[in-house]
């Protein structure tokens, strides 16, 4: 397992949120949408100019700008490849 920044995740890569280090309005908005530690996310895609990013979270799709994604650290399978559906 490796801890990486959400910005660095590849398309279709899945991981579990470890920390969300931001307070204030941004923190509240990020958290109320379900981006809290323990939540599993999958990168669904990026906008044409690589920013914002679209995530699959709890059965819905969220968008996030890269500079907002910077606050979020995600634990991903090591090496960072799209995980195959063979575990558990």
């Amino acid at each position: 397992m490796a801890l990486i920044n959400l910005r660095l995740m590849a398309k279709q890569q899945t991981g579990t949120i470890k920390t969300v280090r931001v307070g204030g309005e941004m923190g509240l908005r990020i958290r109320e949408m379900g981006l809290v530690p323990g939540t599993e996310i999958t990168i669904q895609g990026r906008a044409p100019l690589n920013d914002p990013v679209a995530l699959r979270v709890m059965g819905g799709t969220l968008t996030l700008r890269n500079n907002e994604a910077d606050y979020i650290m995600v634990e991903v399978a090591d090496p960072p490849q799209p995980p195959r559906k063979e575990c558990c």
Partner: protein, 741 residues
Amino acid sequence: MQLRMALAGNPNAGKTTLFNQLTGARQHVGNYPGITVEYKEGFLRHAGTAITLVDLPGTYSMTAYSAEELVARDYLVNERPQVVINIVDASNLERNLYLTCQLLELGVPLVIALNMVDVAKSRGIEIKADILATLLRVPVVPIIARSGFGTKELLEACIATAREESTWDPRDLSYGEDLDTTINELVALIGTAGLMSDLYPPRYTAIKYLENDDQILVKGRQSDPDTAKKLEGIVSLSTEHCQRTLDVYPEAIIADHRYGYIKSILRQGVVSHAFDTDRLYTSDKIDKVLTNRLVGPLVMLLILFTLYSFTFTWSEAPVAWLEALFARLSDLIDGLLPDGLFKSMLISGVIDGVGGVLGFVPLIMFMFFGIAVLEDSGYLARVAFMMDRVFRIFGLHGSSVMPFIVSGGIAGGCAVPGVMATRTLRSPKERMATLLTVPFMNCGAKLPVLALLIGAFFSDNKARYMFLFTMLAWVVALLAAKLLRSTVLRGAPTPFVMELPPYRFPTLRGLFIHTWERTYQYIKKAGTVILGISVLLWALMTFPGLSVEEQAVFQGQREQLLNASQPAAAPVTVEGERKAAEVDPEEDMDASLGLRLAVIDNAEQEAALRNSLAGRFGTALESVSRLAGFDWRTNIALVGGFAAKEVIVSTLGTAYSMGEVSLEEAEPLTRRLQKDPNWNRVVAVAALVFIMFYAPCFVTVVCIARESSWKWAFFSMTFNTFMAFAMAVGVYQVGMFFNLG
């Protein structure tokens, strides 16, 4: 029995659909007392109970970011509805229950409407409503808002809840040892001081203090400064402690525990997955194409262009009908009433003004219908997603793209629906910046002016210049937005955490209600103010009229002409003679007579216009406007352009007294302008720049005021005019310096 209920829920959970399903057409839009935030209220009867249902704005939590959300939250505590329906999306239950948690903590009598059970089922998700109800200790009713399935049971559950519960029953969620201790400390203090206890349960207040909720902090300081100070002291100690030992903010711990609570509930057999949840939903498959890096933007351009041409081509005929209707009305009044001020006011002030506004109605209806389709289907969120990176550079939001395009991003739109389309923006500062800059776009009314001046001075490269001026509008609008966002609207960008809702087929009913609601607001509100301003503008261009002596001079000229051309004819009235001249155009003699009479009429109109308040204003401004190369005639036309930009052409026509100038055939005016020593290419560009960017027409101004405040409406008039003038002066001075004229 009388019942007041409120409807709360996440955006995209089907709240509006349920509201429409329950109340049908029996809704009206009201204002919260004292502020301009609107709310929707609907009425229905069920089993002998008269129910008033208030539709609260969709929110993801009880944290209020905008005035609208704040008001929604206040509504719950101030008005104390007997039942709150919390609509949740069954296919996205976990996140939807976050708001539910907070409603439970507040203690409002709650009924959960578990919506879209059909969608969830198709995705292999089954929700056991009875288990959820037992665990949350509130009624849970599965519904399908689109079809109306389950709404009867929902209403029955609401009525039953209203009968049973008369007091609020706030729930206590645990936030972990550290925070619970702090919360208990806060609760004790709040309890003894009775701080805001008439509105909120003490524990709710305590949690809001820990979440640093601005409104609660301010309210607390107002109602009991001493206690508030103590509370804030405890909170800052706790915050420090959390950061030092756990390296997190208290609000993060709170959110984590709420989601923890939700997860623990869902794990107890509430949700069962029939098949793999990672399966690609239809919606995601569509997104693979529609938000694809290469294909996505192309499809978007195509869709936006289609919307655009749909709006403007389909509304063309009804707009023309309305115009014809008002023209006939004018003719009717013209025939019925004797010449005079009252008739002139009725025709030029009332009918032209109100007609101008109502003439927009079909356009607005089609535009809102188109936007409603894009919005309800979920595509608008994708547009925002794709365009955000570009618009962010200028301090705007991805969602700003729509208003810009509607206002004339592709030349020929209209700023009125554009301004109203900014409602889809949820971030206040970005919305204001969009609202204030969309009028810079080349709307349909500016096109005749562009066509006239480009035709007169750049006739060789019409298309190229037209395109150049469209691009210029975009550049200026975006730069102006950047300027506003770094000065009067300064502030960090609103977080873009946004939902991409699954694609859905919009319901016709929803589309019609959406469209009609917005159109009606436009008619009702814009109509009243605009009537007043229109009459005022008419008065400015009419009073004071020519003196008796001056009128006599023109009358003398006319009679002289008539006597000279028809010495032997029986005495006829001037009026009758002119009609004869029009009826019989084959005869050279009469035709030239009619033309010469028209020249005198125009000269009289020109003199009257120059003598009017607007004319005097234009003349007085000449010393300043000379800097940009405008003479008094142009100034009057620009004043008239405040009524509607197309008026510029006809007023220029009157001011240059060149016979009937209609929008279709601006030819004579073109030649007149070419010959006039005051005009040349540089003046034309300076005038175009000024016309494109100065004060929006008053219909737009009224709409800006309605969407924000009169303060911003006046700001937009002065800011735009000064900016446009500065640009026009720049163009003129530089152009003349290099002798480009």
